[in-house]
Symmetry: C2
Subunit: 126 residues, 2 copies
């Protein structure tokens, strides 16, 4: 231990009161973690590049080179993170991306560089 006397502020000066609360940091990290995967990024890109703006699982397993359960798992993660919507039509499940979800995330990232930003606390959470 060796305790920590009054010379704790040895190097810098400001007490460094961070603008990001721990709870908010965890939420934002979870949203980012949903995107921080090559398979999920390509999955979003595939759906975004589709002509109809939606795609079913059986069409995604081919281009991604992944098995069906894996694709289903990634879709579930993206739906849970608020990036995709799931619509069951007959036997097939069609996934479409929610417009604005990525935009709000971009706004949060840009506001990080601005000290005392507006409302970065409760964003990326439509």
């Amino acid at each position: 231990m060796l305790d920590q006397p009054t010379d704790a502020a040895a190097c810098a000066s400001a007490p460094l009161a961070g603008g990001l609360d721990l709870d908010d940091a965890v939420a934002l990290a979870q949203t980012l973690k949903a995107l921080a995967d090559p398979a999920r990024l390509r999955l979003l890109s595939l759906i975004a590049g589709s002509s109809t703006g939606e795609a079913c699982v059986c069409d995604l397993t081919g281009p991604l080179g992944l098995s069906q359960p894996t694709v289903s798992h990634h879709c579930k993660v993206l739906v849970d993170a608020g990036f995709l919507t799931r619509e069951k039509r007959g036997v097939w499940a069609y996934y479409a991306l929610i417009p604005g979800a990525l935009d709000s995330l971009s706004g949060v990232l840009s506001s990080t560089g601005a000290p005392g930003g507006p409302t970065a606390t409760s964003a990326a959470r439509a």
Copy 2:
């Protein structure tokens, strides 16, 4: 085998040629993964909120509640990802964030929703 005759395109229609290459997806995922951590997000926020725009390790261990090696590890990850710069002044190492790094990432995320976007291929890589 049951083979797969011409009914391969059973559900959808388009061959779904994704705009994101696998190599590009891996690179973007690695950049996002550097941010997808509560400790690193708070670390960036602390440095951004600092009056001088920079902070040394010994000042970050306190607010983050992490040990010194852990903070040093996170700083290394962020420097390697291109979000922070490391400047050794005397005994102390001062970290400052690179302006524009988060902005370019925001641009990439926004362009994902635009089919046939501009240059999302080689971004977030200053």
